[in-house]
Each structure stands twice: as C-alpha cells, then as structure tokens.
C-alpha cells in the first residue's frame, strides 16, 4: 500500500485540526528558531482517515482472527473496559493534579493494588512499571536493594532457566547482575540437580515462570523455592503466564518473593500492536520497603500518594508519573467485571482449550514436546520430524497458517525445543474456532507431505508474500525520504 507521504501535496491541510488564528512568535530570538518546516506529510482529513482505515485492514488482530500466540495471551479485550477507561474525566486528569481532584482515579488504583495482592498472594503491590520487562527490572532491582541493605554485596548472580523469556536475562543485566543459565530436564521442569550445583553465596536470586514457557507446571517448585532460599537467594516470578493459574494457585504461596504481572496479558488490556502494557510488581513482606513509587495509600475515606519521601528505601520511580494509568484502569474494570467468581474460570477455560488442542493435534500426527505432561494454558509441539523428513520448517508452517486466516503460534521459542510452535488458545475462543484451526492444521500437515512448495512459498493470500528479513537488515531502509519516490 502506498505510504502516507505518497498522498502528500504541498500546502494541503486539514484546517479544522489546528488553531485558526496564527499565534505571534516573533519574540523568539532567531538563533533558537527552526529554519525549514519538518517534512511531515500534507493531507486533507479524509486522506488521513482513508489511509489509516485501509492500512488497519492489513492487520490480523484478536478482533478479526484467532491468534494463538504462545506466551502472549491474545485473548479478547472487553470493549467496556476501553470505553470506561476513556471517560472524559479520566482522560482529562493531569498527572500532577492535586489529590483533591484525583480521588476517583486513586480509588481505582488502590482497589487494583488490593485485588492484585489477593490474586498473587503477595503482601504489597506497586502498579507503576510500564510493561513486563520494566516490572522485571523493578523486581530484580528490589532483590538487589534487599541484598545491599543487608551488606550482602557478594551476590552478583541471577539464575535463569534456559526456557526463560529473553527479557529475564536482559533485565538482570540492566540491574548489573551476571546471568547464569539453568538447564531444563527431559520433562520440561527445572533441572534441580543442575540448580543445586550453581546455588551459592553468589546467588542473588532466580527468575522463574511457573507454568514455564514450556507450557508445563513445575511440580517441584516448593523444593526449588526452599533450596534457593536456603542458599540466601530470592525467587522472582515472571507473571506472564499468570493466566494459567488465576484463582488456582498463587505465586506467593509457591514461595516467591517478588512477581511482576503482565496486565496486558492476564488482565486483558489490548496489545495495541505492541503496547502499551502494564507490569505491576508484587512482593513478600521482606521486599515491601523497596517497592517502586508512586503507590496509592488509603487513609480513612481518602486516598493519598506514596512517593519518595514516604518510602525512603524504595528503588524509586521508573517513569515520569505513575506508569500506564489508562492501562491500569482497563485492567481494573476487567477485574471487577470478572469478580471473585470469574477469575478462576479464566484459568479453567484457558487450560481446557489448551489441553483439547494438544490432544487433538497429537491425534492429527503432531508431536508434543512434552507428551507426558498436562498442558497448562499453552503447550509446545515440535516439527523436528517434518523438518527432517519433509524439508519444511516451523516458519513454513506458520506462514501457511496465515493463508488460512489463523495467526501463527509463537515460533522458535523457547529456544531449547527445536522447530517448535508454542500454542496458546486462551479462554475466550470457542470450540468451533479450535476445531476449524485443527482442521487447517491437519490440512497443512497433508500439504507438507504432498505439496511442500505451498508451505515454503507461503503466505500466498496476504497483502504481501513472504518478506525478506535479511534484506531489511542489510539494506537498512528505516525512514521515508523524498528521494525515495523519485
């Protein structure tokens, strides 16, 4: 599709969108002034609307497609949460508005903190991290602050299973830690023997997600927690997979000291093509002093902000204001609509759907990575046999799925399972959709045998054919310039 710049013509405008009167700026001294106007496109309002309406139609999305992207929890985002978070009163509130003019917003934030405490089994929650990765940073920074406050400076290592999401090691490094990888055993659990060998006085903590990104629940979590604690380390829970266990088992009860949650996954705020998210952190009592500010406290009927001066040991603030407030409001509405009754149902249906798909895919001839295990909310199949025998790889399967109107599952992650697809159907899909997906998966397996070129050349039915990533990285084209078109 043509770029917005290609519709631009000099002097064209959407005049109603800017002030009609021209402000006088002659008093700005010459040396500060811009000389040439920025090369933004010049368009009528209709051109903009038409361009972006049409452009949007080139996307797959939850509102249009089944999107079983493992670890990403692409479930339906209730439209009510969006509407209510965008009520004019909430949109108009300035982040520095006085507390007298913020009680409505603060009430929501306080109650969200309380609900997240209950759901995770932690002692206290701070909402401000802007996404999962920032939550991880906050969590690991708190672990560091804890050890430092005790003068325990030798603890320089964070342990991370090889199945972990890339943000885990990257966040540990952002906090100045060294990362040690822990292997996974044949059943997908953490290799406890290997773990024991690396635990020690250098261990600051371990980052786990349970169920792991392998789609299995680590049955020895209690033992792991005990061993890490005995070694003087703390346990970090990557809450990206919290959807699987809502109302069933709580990270706090498993022995974790700190957790981040991906509200844009478990609490169903829209992903927006790559964010915004929200990554609140919850902690056990011993980490409470280090929680990032701001937080909301309650004082009788009034809510008040807790900031640096109230929390002298805090790791401080991680964003200019209070994080992604609008996302938090959506999550709040979602949680209130689910309520006590609805929350465990999330885990139940997510798990039911995943196990159903796993079972039926195996019947079709797909190979489960951990066939002995229950699927949690997601599971892994490996196409190593197909890759070996038919010469079609996971990416080919993924692209072919797009042709049939299904978004591909997560590919090649976790890295330790070769040629894998990580499949997460989520609780909001119905059986007919799962069955339609299974039918197509059956068809593609057939095609892989009879017409492998169909897969290798896929997609065929999308706005573009398969894109050349290598070219993109080699011949960098990162911004339009007038010379490009002419």
């Amino acid at each position: 599709m043509s770029l917005i710049y290609q519709h631009s013509r000099p002097g064209r405008r959407a005049p109603g969108q800017a002030p009609l009167a021209k402000g006088d700026t002659t008093a700005i001294p010459e040396r500060f002034r811009r000389r040439v106007r920025a090369a933004l496109p010049e368009l009528s309002e209709m051109q903009v609307v038409r361009h972006y309406t049409r452009l949007s139609q080139k996307n797959f999305s939850i509102d249009t497609h089944f999107y079983p992207l493992g670890s990403c929890t692409m479930k339906y985002n209730p439209r009510g949460a969006n509407q209510l978070a965008m009520l004019p009163g909430f949109l108009a509130r300035h982040p520095e508005a006085p507390e007298t003019h913020s009680q409505g917003f603060m009430a929501c934030m306080y109650e969200l903190q309380e609900m997240l405490k209950e759901v995770t089994g932690m002692q206290a929650v701070s909402l401000s991290p802007a996404a999962g990765a920032q939550g991880e940073f906050a969590g690991v920074a708190m672990i560091r602050a804890y050890h430092e406050s005790r003068g325990d400076e030798a603890r320089r290592e964070i342990l991370v299973p090889d199945a972990a999401h890339g943000t885990n090691p990257a966040s540990a490094v952002m906090c100045g830690y060294q990362v040690r990888e822990i292997p996974t055993d044949a059943n997908g659990d953490v290799d406890v023997t290997a773990l024991k060998t690396v635990l020690g006085p250098r261990t600051a903590g371990i980052m786990l997600t349970n169920p792991s990104t392998l789609g299995v629940f680590d049955r020895r979590i209690r033992e792991i927690a005990n061993r890490v604690h005995e070694a003087g380390g703390l346990l970090y829970y990557d809450g990206a997979n919290l959807n699987a266990i809502l109302g069933k088992v709580r990270p706090g009860d498993m022995g974790f000291d700190v957790i981040h949650m991906n509200l844009h996954k478990t609490f169903s705020t829209p992903h927006g093509g790559g964010g915004p998210g929200a990554g609140p952190v919850g902690v056990s009592a011993r980490l409470q002093p280090y929680l990032p500010v701001p937080m909301v406290d309650r004082d009788g009927d009034d809510y008040r902000w807790l900031s640096e001066s109230d929390c002298p040991e805090s790791i401080g603030r991680l964003s200019a204001f209070a994080g992604n407030a609008g996302v938090l409001l959506r999550a709040y509405v979602y949680a209130r609509m689910l309520g006590r009754e609805g929350i465990p149902r999330v885990a139940e249906y997510a798990t039911l759907n995943a196990n159903y798909l796993l079972e039926r895919l195996q019947e079709l001839g797909y190979e489960a990575a951990y066939p002995e295990r229950r699927a949690t909310h997601e599971f892994i199949i490996t196409l190593r046999r197909q890759a070996r025998e038919l010469g079609v790889n996971t990416m080919d399967f993924a692209k072919r799925l797009l042709d049939y109107g299904f978004h591909a599952p997560t590919t090649y992650f976790p890295l330790l399972v070769p040629e894998c697809l990580l499949i997460e159907p989520t609780e909001t899909e119905d059986k007919e959709t799962l069955d339609a997906f299974l039918e197509v998966m059956g068809k593609i397996l057939e095609e892989a045998k009879t017409e492998p070129e169909l897969l290798k050349g896929a997609p065929h039915a999308l706005p573009v054919r398969r894109l050349d990533d290598v070219r993109a990285a080699r011949e960098l084209d990162l911004a339009w310039s007038p010379s490009r078109d002419g």
Binding site: L40, E45, C72, A92, E136, G166, A320, M337, L478
Partner: protein
Amino acid sequence: MLQAIGVGTVEQLFDEIPADLRCGELNAIPKAMSEMEIGRLMDTRARQDGAAVCFIGAGAYDHHIPAAVWQLATRGEFYTAYTPYQAEASQGTLQLLYEYQSMMTAVTAMDVSNASLYDGASALAEAVLMAVRANRKSRSRRVLVPRTVHPHYRRVVRNIVHNQGVELVELPFDSTGGHIDPETLAAFAGEDIAALVIPQPNFFGVLEEVGLLTDWAHANKALIIALVNPVALALLSPPGEWGEQGADICCGEGQPLGAPLSSGGPYFGFLCCRQTLVRQMPGRIIGGTLDLDGKPGYTLTLQAREQHIRRSKATSNICTNQGLMVTAATIHMALLGPEGLERVAAACYDNTAWLVESLIRLHGVESRFDRPVFHERVIQLPVAAKGVLRALAAHNLLAGLDLSRDYPELGDNCILTCATERRTREEMESLTTKLERVLSLQGGVPCQLQPKEW
C-alpha cells in the same frame, strides 16, 4: 472437550499442581459486576476528577486531539493486534510504524528513529545507557545532566542507570536565566565525559543555548543527548541541526502528539539518533524490504539488538513498548501536518506569553527567569505557593506546579505555569482574577477556602 482430552472434570487438568499449594476462594476480590454496574461506578469516579481547568504542564500537556485520532487508533485491527512478529499479517501496524519513524526523523532532523519506549523519562535513561555504550572516544561512564532537566526524569534516569555503574553529574542552572550557562561547562573541559544531556525547552520552559552546548560537547568528545518537546520543535531548531554537527541522540516524551493527559500514561518515549549509532539503539525498529514477488513491505529489523534474540547481551530489556500511542501520534501528526503543528506550537507560545503578562500585572507576582521560553514559565508569587494553589484548586483552577519540593533554592513561592492552545482568554482571565482575590485574602488573612491537605 473433556472427553476428547480424557478427563472427567476441568479440575483434573490442574492435577500436576501440588494439592497443598492450591488456593481457596479469592475473598478479597469483590463479586462480579455487569458492564452496566461498573459503568456507573466508573462514571461517578471520572466525574469526580475531571472538572478542573488545567494550567499545569511540567511534562504533560493539555493539547487538542483531533477526533479522528482515537476513532482510528481504537479500530480493532490496530487496537487488538500483538507486536508484529508475523510481518505478513501485520502490514497495517508495520507500515504505520515505518511512517512514524519517518515523521519523527523529520521533526527532529535526525537520521533514524525507533518505534517507541515507555515514556520520556525512561527514554532518557535508555539514551544515557546508549550514549555510554556508543561513545567510542570516551572510556568513562560519566554523563552530565543539567538540573534544568525534569526532576522526575532525573530520578528515573538515576534509578535505572545506577545499577550499571553510570555516574550522573548535575549541572547547575543560572539563577537569573533559568538556563545552563555554557560557562559552567568550562569546569569540565578536558575531562572524560561520555555525554551531555540538553533539554530544550528545559523544565522551566526556558530555551537553552543548544548550539553552544552542542559544540562544546563535541569539542570535548562527549555525545549530545537532546531531550526535546516534539511540539516545540515546530518552532525551535531541531536537534539534528544544533551546533556544527547536530545532536547524536534525541529523545523525549511523545505525549504532546495525541496522547490524552490520562493521569500520566500511557504516553510514549521517542528515541532518534545518527545513522552510525543505530545498532546501539534499544527498542523495536521497522525496516522496509521486499517480498518474494519484489513488492515492498515492512518488517521488524535489526532484531539482533533485542532481548528475544540477544538475551543478556541485548541493548535493553524492552519488549512491549507503547505501540498504540505511536499509532495515535502518527495519525495526529498526519492530521496536523507541518503547518498545523506549527500553528499549535505558536498558539501555545502566544497563550503562555499572554497569560504571563496578565499574571505579572498583579502586585507582587513576577516572572522568575528573564530568558525566552516556549510554553511554560516560572512565576514567583508574593506568598508561599502551596496555599495559593490549594485555594485556586477549590475553584477548579489548577494554576501550576509548586516548585518548592524539587527546587528549594527557588524558595516556597514559585510555580511553573503553562497555557496550551486549549486555554481560552476567559480561562486565563479567570485565573488572573481569582489569583488576585486569593492573594489579597492571603495577604495576612488566612484563606477562606480550606479543602483538606494534599
């Protein structure tokens, strides 16, 4: 379905979880509400907060957002898509992000842009880390950060970078001008400095001598990190053109481009740089390429910088960014165009100038710094700001930000005030009149209106 799986109940699916770990009912969570019920609650709460006229800026600005922006950005196809990992099924998001990158490089006059970071403050932190990594000529981890940078930003930067041993050195500001006097840099001449941060306009709204500062830094082998307001750049010299060589990295808060105030978020941080530094850039980057048929398309590129490929060696841990806000910003910029953006900036400039003139006509009210500003000004009141702001808030006028906590050196009487294009003459006159009244009451007599402490 249970039958197909071969279990009798859903509960059986959870049988790998040790029974003693299982939790009971979540009693602290209230019972379910229907959309109608929660709608009523949220409506009441939103009304509670949304009535005031806002003259606070300080990093978040009350601009007009064209109706089309959010009507388009909330289309399900943009709104409920994931990060565009499957490029062929995400050309909508990817092309839009490419267009965003193009617009941001145009506004900043830099070579390349990423596809967003969390907010302005964390973008500055990433820029500092990036500069330390990228400056091959410097071996130090020292970065000069003026005290004219937003106090919250300075805190965020410290909280993020101190874990990696980066040292932040504060530069003082000139007490008459409210800017960084280029002379103060003389003290650092010859020292090994990785980078200098320059805010434009700075936290006080004041314009910095960006050309002189940039040239000093480059002469001293330090990189320049420009921290800018993108709307201001419609009037002000863009970082790519500062001094002889231009800034090296440019970042800032994207909120003024289509994000509602919304209690401080979601906003987005933008980050641009010279072409040569692109491999040190954190965050998603979209590149143009061709498909199997030679047709143009867009895809995530340079992923080898990112955590999902490079893990502990990535340029940052960022994964989810602020995609939807960037969607809105792109549509916002397309609707305004170069002239529209300039009109917005000029109207803000003009309004603030008008407001300041009106306020300083009041007895004892003064403009604290004497140098040119963009759309914010430090105003010095004859009495402590706290009580005055409180009294005005009781009239639903949020007159500005009390500076006494973050800048004790300015005393108790200074506020930072801003009038965007949305503020009307009537609102500004009302602020002036009410301030006059409050000041006359507070000249000895305690304020009549005493809402509770905040």
